[in-house]
Symmetry: C3
Subunit: 129 residues, 3 copies
């Protein structure tokens, strides 16, 4: 049974936004939605607005991949943390409600990829057991 | 053998379109490509053109994930139905030729995610056994 | 053990570019980054710049899905070859360093999908064992 259950793909998520539409210049928005480690990373990049936007759509894509009812502004986006690992690969860490909901659904891993052009940020997430 | 064959990822599909390029104002286009349930859903949304465009690229992405030769306008897009489940998660239902082709290829599940900005709709699909 | 290891999803990759930002009119860029078979295919299409751009973002998406540290312009993009199979489905062939890195990580298959509108090319890749 363990074999059958291992690594079953349970959800996918895609999201995109105009970089200009993500209010990363607003300290309240940033403090509410990003962890300290995410903020430090985004501020260290050559274009912080692009990095914040990419992580923002990443969080939305992860949220969709979990297959839970969207709660819009009420969703705790800080519970979905995206940090780069030692190889520079963006890696999803779930906390709080997001972690509990993933656990309920048998999701143990969420893969993510992020991309931004000059104007648009896009993300893809895949959730599996 | 059953374990090995379970949930093997067999194809992925991505598609995008300008919302303005999907002729959802054209009743012939809509009746030909969307099921009654899809039409009812899209018309109930705040921006029906965005919803029709998102489902349209969703159908194209599913079609690509099935790995069959594209048939352009001849493809029966109505055979690929995308309806939201009780949690609001878009869910793929295959009918007719699409179902037969998926079956031939051993595909038993297609996951989908949809996104639209003000101007662009994008979709991602993953087909697995 | 073989069952558990089979078809584990190990990485995903998404990438996008404005078609106009991919210098496919530059013979040095093309010769350095595309194989002869890719060049022949792209030149046979109705819009070679769109086809080159789609394959270019496809290579970037595959590179991301391999989860290796990005090497920018130094990456051997020619080692990631995307050719259509008999059904017209884009299929990834890894060579050289890309093949070696995939092998180190236990990646045996990379699925890819490509899409382009009039202005933007986008790609999604999924790497699995």
């Amino acid at each position: 049974a363990a074999n059958v259950a291992a690594n079953v793909s349970l959800g996918v998520g895609v999201d995109q936004e105009l970089i200009s539409s993500v209010p990363s210049h607003n300290p309240t928005f940033v403090a509410r939605n990003f962890t300290d480690a995410e903020i430090a990373y985004c501020r260290s990049q050559s274009s912080p607005p692009s990095s914040f936007a990419a992580r923002w759509v990443g969080k939305e894509a992860v949220f969709k991949s979990l297959g839970v009812k969207s709660q819009g502004a009420a969703a705790a986006m800080k519970d979905i943390e995206i940090l780069n690992d030692a190889s520079g690969v963006p890696t999803v860490h779930l906390h709080g409600d997001a972690k509990a909901k993933a656990s309920e659904k048998g999701i143990s891993k969420v893969l993510i990829s992020l991309s931004h052009s000059d104007t648009v940020a896009i993300a893809f997430a895949q959730a599996s057991s």
